[in-house]
């Protein structure tokens, strides 16, 4: 176990500045969330969560029905829906459209879905300019990094990092005041918005009954990207659909609270198709690309299917004691934290990073804060079993499997269990009345060594409870 994942964990744990930054930032987000879900502020918080879960479950269980409905309604409003299997199909669509319309410049608002398929890189590879316009995402695009956190993408960057990036990439004056850095980015991006041919956004929700796309943001970049260019392309995962506009009353109360501790984000846009007759502004063309990219693989198993309920609020990252230690870039794919630990193996296959589902103490903090009540620990445990199955096919990790077979046998045979326990204890206590440190053989057993690398182990008692009980 010393792959890239373990190495990055080790590096992050050793970086004291980063440790402090991630712990403080997630701690603040955690506290902000707690303040706005408190019973005196939102008395029906738990009811809303339960309802949101039911809505998501219903929609995902009948996903084909709602996707068709969504498609029909988008088309009736003059938009077009395109189903895409993967990132290549998304890129192809955008390239073909750009070519047909003579478009060169694309402004993008923050979207985890397009991060999944590295859309910017692919478009730029084909000669288009595709600019991220969310401040954090823009900084990361300039730095060629991927988001550190679902809602706070540049959480790991200091103002000094940002100053360096802006100077190096934009030839901007070296500026360490955050207000001024923001103004520099605003000025550059404003020119991009005014000149852009195409705006690409993600979607927080797709409303089936309305044929509408809902975007939630704080900066206004998503509004600009979907208002000024003549063409608006939405790239969204197929799981984003909800039945009715009225269900937003439930989801919107949960999303911003869980994500940033706001009652509502600054801007929520409800967009249904291109500009209509008589309306003054807005795009002339409106496309929704519905992306599979592995999502259908999550549907067959009714327990694991709930991974698709996620509304990308990031609350589980902030609550997770593992994420708060290892940060976002230790994770092997764009999604980090608890949700990343269940999405990545299912989207990419468990062998992409087989140890990922095991990197959790199963403390349940993620499930506790999830606004749509995804039982993340349960999915993790199921994925662990999937990893074992895939390992068994490759005849890997056989010693552990043997150990658990032995465990199973011992625990069904109380006498053997007792005898084995006493044997281990006497071995540990044997050498010179000392403890394991003096028994090199035992010390070298992998798990014992790993345990002792961090902490001490109590000497085993001379008698087990059952022996003491018998003596009573």
């Amino acid at each position: 176990m010393a792959g890239a994942f373990e190495r990055k964990i080790h590096e992050t744990l050793a970086d004291t500045r980063l440790q402090q930054a991630v712990y403080t930032a997630t701690g603040r987000l955690k506290d902000s969330r707690l303040a706005v879900i408190a019973p005196h502020v939102l008395p029906d918080y738990q009811e809303l969560r339960a309802h949101a879960h039911l809505l998501k479950r219903h929609t995902v269980d009948h996903l084909d029905h709602y996707l068709e409905k969504f498609q029909r309604n988008v088309e009736s409003r003059g938009g077009q829906v395109v189903f895409c299997n993967d990132g290549a199909e998304v890129t192809d669509f955008v390239l073909a459209l750009a070519k047909k319309r003579g478009a060169r410049l694309i402004v993008k608002s923050k979207s985890m879905t397009t991060e999944e398929v590295d859309l910017n890189e692919h478009l730029e590879h084909h000669g288009l300019e595709s600019v991220e316009t969310d401040l954090g995402e823009y900084i990361l695009q300039l730095a060629h990094e991927r988001p550190y956190h679902i809602v706070a993408p540049a959480l790991h960057k200091t103002r000094y990092d940002v100053a360096e990036i802006l100077t190096r990439r934009l030839n901007a004056p070296h500026e360490t005041k955050i207000e001024k850095q923001t103004a520099i980015a605003r000025a550059v991006l404003r020119q991009k918005f005014l000149a852009a041919d195409i705006g690409i956004s993600g979607a927080n929700f797709l409303v089936a009954d309305s044929g509408a796309v809902v975007l939630v943001e704080n900066e206004g970049n998503a509004r600009l990207a979907t208002t000024l260019p003549k063409i608006h392309i939405v790239v969204a995962g197929i799981e984003k659909v909800i039945p009715r506009a009225q269900d937003l009353a439930v989801f919107l109360k949960l999303l911003a609270r869980s994500a940033t501790g706001q009652l509502l984000s600054v801007y929520t846009s409800f967009l249904s198709g291109p500009r209509r007759a008589g309306e003054i502004d807005g795009p002339d063309e409106f496309y929704v690309l519905l992306l599979d990219n592995g999502r259908t693989k999550l549907l067959p198993d009714s327990a694991k299917r709930q991974s698709l309920y996620c509304i990308r609020c990031g609350a589980c990252l902030n609550a997770c004691p593992v994420y708060r230690k290892i940060g976002g870039h230790s994770f092997p794919w764009v999604y980090s934290g608890p949700i990343g630990a269940i999405l990545t193996p299912q989207f990419m296959g468990v062998s992409r990073e087989p140890s990922l589902p095991f990197a959790s103490s199963l403390c349940g903090a993620c499930a506790e804060v999830c606004p749509v009540k995804i039982d993340i620990p349960r999915v993790l445990v199921e994925l662990r079993a999937d990893v074992h199955q895939s390992e068994a096919r490759q005849k890997r990790n056989r010693l552990e499997k043997l150990a658990f077979r032995l465990f199973r046998w011992l625990m069904q045979h109380p006498r053997a269990y007792e005898w084995a326990g006493r044997l281990a204890a006497s071995l540990a206590n044997s050498a010179d009345g000392g403890w394991m440190r003096r028994v090199p053989v035992l010390l070298n057993v992998g798990p014992v060594r790993a345990w002792l690398s961090q902490r001490d182990l109590p000497p085993p008692p001379s008698r087990s409870f059952r022996q003491l009980w018998r003596q009573r």
């Binding site: 095991f358 199963l362 403390c363 079993a385």
Partner: protein, 264 residues
């Protein structure tokens, strides 16, 4: 995930009208857990001491071993099912089963049902049995209606919420109420409370460095309280916390709630 209180209890356990207390002469079966049996027998003895002090008669079904949680959490459901079946066999006849561990209790009353989702016969047995399984502090407060159990300990303590006790069993105030009734004991809350100690079973050895880092953050919170004792409902959390305290050369002791309540 949280159970509703009060739970339905077999008729023999109906509270009397006076003090809300139960017939204390009833028999209670101990499931001490494999960890207490093999590594921390004194926790088991302390639990026996407290329950007997309250007038309960104790059974210890000797065929008991483990609840299967290590296999379940590690992704070995087949192995976990076999061990869980053994547990069902051993405790089927017991009227009330008391467990000195929040996470083993949660395993039995929540995750057994997941294990036997596709086996209606076993699932019915699980439902019957899980109604009678109690984490130690819950048993004392909810079933026995106890507050003061006659304990006495002159010291300063802080309480560590085990993740499964807190989030799967909803235990927060029960253990604290019992601790506040201990004569001489000052209880100080750690800040933040409710964060994982980093144990997590095989996680503690598969990701030892990470697990250790989580534990060190935990003990920083413990140290800030100035307490000499950290109390928990879970032997596994205690093993982790005590192990890191000891490695750091700190003199703070880890004690199970039963050990505190057994002190006089």
């Amino acid at each position: 995930m949280r159970r509703a209180f009060p739970r339905i209890w077999p008729n023999v356990w109906v509270r009397d009208d006076e003090g809300g207390r139960l017939d204390m002469s009833q028999r209670v079966a101990l499931f001490v857990t494999c960890m207490v049996d093999q590594l921390f027998p004194k926790i088991g003895l302390a639990m026996v001491e407290v329950l007997e002090r309250l007038g309960f008669r104790i059974d210890f079904p000797e065929a008991q071993t483990c609840c299967g949680q290590p296999a379940f959490n590690s992704g070995y459901p087949e192995e976990a099912r076999a061990v869980a079946r053994h547990f069902l066999d051993v405790f089927e006849a017991s009227e009330a089963i008391v467990v000195p561990s929040g996470s083993c209790t949660a395993m039995i009353i929540h995750h057994f049902a997941e294990l036997f989702e596709k086996d209606p016969t076993a699932l019915a047995r699980v439902k019957q049995l899980s109604e009678r399984v109690w984490e130690f502090s819950q048993f004392l407060t909810v079933v026995a209606g106890a507050g003061d159990v006659g304990a006495h300990l002159e010291d300063v303590a802080t309480f560590h919420d085990g993740c499964h006790a807190l989030r799967e069993l909803g235990i927060q105030s029960a253990a604290r109420r019992l601790l506040r009734h201990v004569r001489g004991l000052e209880l100080r809350e750690m800040e933040p409370a409710g964060e994982c100690c980093g144990f997590g079973g095989t996680f503690s050895v598969k990701f030892a460095e990470l697990s250790g880092a989580m534990a060190r953050t935990k003990i920083e919170a413990i140290v800030r309280t100035g307490a000499n004792i950290v109390v928990s409902l879970d032997p596994s959390c205690l093993m982790q916390i005590q192990g890191v305290l000891s490695r750091a050369g700190l003199k703070i002791r880890g004690l199970h709630l039963a050990e505190v309540l057994a002190s006089r």
